[in-house]
C-alpha cells in the first residue's frame, strides 16, 4: 500500500484548519502540486497565494507570526531553501518565529524536472540555522502528527516531504520531534536513514540478513534535534554506522550523525547519498539507483563497512 505525502499534507492542513482558526497557509504558485490548495479551497480567507516569490512569502509569514497567527509556507523544497534562505535565516530563525516551512518535492523526487528542481542541499542549509527544527518525513502517515507537533513548538520548523507515493511503513509511532525510532534491531551495523530512504534501508537489512549481517535500522527523520541517546546506544552495540539519505552526502543527515559520533563515540562510518554532484532528469527509481540511493547500494556499503570494524 502506498500514499503520497503531499496528499496527506493537503488533507492534514484542512483537518487542522477546522480546529485552529489561527492557521494560515501561504503558497508560491505551486499549491496544486504541493496540495496546500486544498486548504485554500476550504478556507480561502486564510490562504495566500503569493505568486512565484518565495522570499516575499517567507517574510509575509514572519509578519503574520508576530501577530499570533500560525503560518505554514508551502513550496518546493529547493526554492524555499535557496530562494528564501535570507528570509528564513534573518527573519524567521533569528527572531525564532513560529513559521512552519513545508518543503515538498524534496530530494530527487521531482525527477523529470532535473537538477534545477531537485533539492539535495536543503538539509545542509536548514540544519545550520539556529532555532530551526529540521524534520524529514518517511511516509504519508507521518504528515498530520508531525504538523500537529510542529504547531506546538514556539519556533520555526522545516518539514521535508517527497513528491511521490511511498510505502506505508506501519511504524509503531509516527515521527516524533527529537526521537529516533528503532525500526529493526541488529548487532552488526547501524543503518540510520531518513525520508523515502527508510524503506530502502529496511529492504537492505533483509538482504543483509541473508549474508549473515544483522542490521539495526533507525528512522532518523528528526535531523535537528537529533536523538543522540538512541544513536549512541545503537552504535555502542553495533560498532559502525551507515547513513542513508536522499541528499548530498555533504551537510545532511550523515554529517549530523558524524558530528555527534566523532565527539562521543568514533566508529567507522560510511554515507549513502548524492556524491557531491548535480543530478539529472529521469524516472524516479532509476534516477535514485544511478546515484546509489537504493537497497542494493545500501547493502553493498554496509558489507564494506562491517568489514572495516
Amino acid at each position: 500500500m502506498e500514499k503520497a505525502m503531499r496528499d496527506a499534507f493537503g488533507e492534514a492542513l484542512v483537518s487542522i484548519g477546522k480546529e485552529n482558526d489561527r492557521l494560515v497557509v501561504l503558497d508560491a504558485d505551486v499549491s496544486s502540486s504541493t496540495r496546500s490548495g486544498k486548504f485554500g479551497q476550504a478556507f480561502p480567507e486564510r490562504f495566500f497565494n503569493t505568486g512565484v516569490a518565495e522570499a516575499n512569502m517567507a517574510d509575509m509569514a514572519a509578519g503574520m507570526a508576530t501577530c499570533g497567527y500560525r503560518p505554514v509556507i508551502s513550496a518546493f523544497a529547493i526554492f524555499l531553501a535557496l530562494k528564501s534562505t535570507d528570509q528564513i535565516r534573518n527573519v524567521i530563525c533569528y527572531n525564532n518565529l513560529p513559521v512552519i516551512i513545508a518543503g515538498g518535492y524534496a530530494g530527487l523526487s521531482d525527477s523529470f524536472d532535473g537538477a534545477s528542481h531537485q533539492s539535495i542541499t536543503d538539509l545542509a542549509i536548514m540544519r545550520s540555522f539556529p532555532n530551526l527544527t529540521v524534520l524529514v518525513l518517511s511516509e504519508a502517515d507521518d504528515v498530520e502528527p508531525v504538523l500537529r507537533q510542529a504547531l506546538e513548538i514556539d519556533g520555526p520548523v522545516y518539514i521535508r516531504m517527497c513528491r511521490n507515493s511511498s510505502p506505508v511503513l506501519n511504524k509503531k509511532e509516527p515521527l516524533t520531534i527529537g526521537k529516533a525510532q528503532v525500526l529493526r534491531s541488529g548487532s552488526h551495523i547501524t543503518i540510520g536513514a531518513c525520508g523515502i530512504t527508510v524503506p530502502m534501508a529496511l529492504a537492505a537489512a533483509e538482504e543483509l540478513e541473508g549474508e549473515g549481517v544483522e542490521a539495526e535500522v533507525l528512522d532518523l527523520g528528526s535531523i535537528k534535534p537529533l536523538d543522540r541517546e538512541t544513536l549512541l546506544e545503537s552504535v555502542s552495540k553495533t560498532g559502525c554506522f551507515l547513513s542513508v539519505e536522499e541528499h548530498s552526502v555533504l551537510g545532511g543527515l550523515g554529517s549530523a550523525v558524524a558530528e555527534v559520533l566523532v565527539k562521543s563515540r568514533p566508529v567507522p562510518m560510511d554515507f549513502v547519498g548524492v556524491d557531491d554532484c548535480f543530478t539529472e532528469s529521469g524516472p524516479y527509481d532509476p534516477l535514485m539507483e544511478k546515484y546509489g540511493i537504493d537497497s542494493k547500494s545500501i547493502s553493498r556499503k554496509a558489507l564494506g563497512l562491517t568489514a572495516r570494524k
Partner: protein, 285 residues
C-alpha cells in the same frame, strides 16, 4: 492611545535633540550610521510622538500600530526615539553596539522593547509589514503597519515582490514611508540604481500615491502627508518624503561618505555646534 501634546515646533526641536544624541553616541562609540539616521529623525519623531497608537507601558499591546525600520542601519535614531518616548530607560542609547547591550548594531525585536522587527539585511521590511497588515485586516482593521525604507531597500528585488503582492492583497492599513534622500552607500541613487519615476512605479502597482512628495524635515509637511493618508480608504499607501542624508551637519549632508563612516573628534567638534545652533532656533522661536 498615549499621545503627547507637543506642537509642531516642539516636535521639530525634539527631533533635533535626537540628532544630537545620535551624533554624540556615534562619536563615543566610533561606529554606526549617521547619514541615514539623520534623514529620518523628523519622521520617526512625528510617528512616535504624534501619530502612532501605542502604549509605552505595554509595548506588546495587541492592537498597537507597528513600525518596521526596514533600513535597519538607521537603528541609532530608532533607539534614540524609543528612549525619548520611554520604551527604553534613560541612558540606554549610550550602550549602542556594546557587548551584552540590548541595542544591537541593527534592530533586534527580541532584545529591544518597541522594536517590531529585526532588520539590517535590506529588503525584508515591506514583506513582513504586508503579513502584519493582512492580519490587521483579518482581525478587523485594528492596527496600522508603517514600513520605512530607503533607496537601498528599494534596490532589493524582494521589495518589488512585496509591492506587487501588496497591490494584489490590498490591505488598507499598510503604509510605506520612503526616506528618499537620494544617496546610498556607494554614491548617489542616480549613479548606483536610479529609482525615478518612483511615484509612477507605485501607481503602476495599484498603490495609493499622493500627487506630491512631502518635506521629510518639516513637521507641517509631515503632518499634511498623514492628512492625505487619512483620506485613503482602501489598498496600500505610499508616502515619499524628500529628505537629506546627514541632515543637520552641513559638511555631512548629501554625502555617501557619511553613510556609515565613524565620526572622529575633528568632525564631531565641527558638527555639534551646527546641530546645537539649529536646536536653539527651534527652542527660541
Amino acid at each position: 492611545m498615549q499621545t503627547l501634546k507637543l506642537s509642531n515646533k516642539e516636535l521639530q526641536a525634539q527631533a533635533q535633540r535626537f540628532r544630537i544624541d545620535v551624533l554624540k553616541t556615534l562619536h563615543d562609540k566610533g561606529t554606526g550610521h549617521w547619514g541615514g539616521s539623520a534623514s529620518i529623525a523628523d519622521l520617526l519623531t512625528y510617528l512616535y510622538y504624534r501619530r502612532m497608537n501605542i502604549r509605552v507601558d505595554e509595548p506588546q499591546w495587541e492592537d498597537r500600530d507597528r513600525l518596521i525600520l526596514s533600513k535597519g542601519h538607521a537603528s541609532p535614531m530608532l533607539y534614540a526615539v524609543l528612549e525619548g518616548r520611554g520604551f527604553l530607560e534613560k541612558g540606554t542609547l549610550s550602550s549602542f553596539r556594546d557587548l551584552n547591550s540590548s541595542l544591537q548594531g541593527h534592530p533586534c525585536m527580541n532584545k529591544t522593547p518597541g522594536v517590531e522587527m529585526s532588520t539590517g539585511a535590506l529588503g525584508h521590511g515591506l514583506s513582513v509589514g504586508l503579513g502584519m497588515s493582512l492580519i490587521s485586516r483579518m482581525k478587523g482593521n485594528s492596527f496600522y503597519t508603517y514600513v520605512i525604507v530607503g533607496e537601498g531597500c528599494l534596490n532589493e528585488g524582494q521589495s518589488w515582490e512585496a509591492i506587487m503582492a501588496a497591490g494584489k492583497f490590498a490591505p488598507e492599513k499598510l503604509v510605506l514611508l520612503i526616506d528618499y534622500n537620494k544617496v546610498q552607500l556607494d554614491g548617489t541613487a542616480n549613479e548606483i540604481m536610479p529609482l525615478d519615476p518612483l511615484a509612477d512605479k507605485f501607481r503602476a502597482f495599484n498603490w495609493n500615491v499622493s500627487d506630491r512628495t512631502f518635506d521629510g524635515h518639516d513637521m507641517e509637511s509631515i503632518e499634511e502627508s498623514f492628512r492625505w493618508l487619512d483620506e485613503q480608504t482602501d489598498g496600500p499607501s505610499v508616502i515619499i518624503y524628500d529628505t537629506v542624508k546627514g541632515k543637520g551637519v552641513s559638511f555631512m549632508e548629501n554625502s555617501n561618505a557619511w553613510h556609515g563612516a565613524p565620526v572622529g573628534d575633528d568632525h564631531f567638534e565641527k558638527a555639534l555646534p551646527e546641530l546645537t545652533e539649529q536646536l536653539a532656533k527651534w527652542e527660541d522661536d
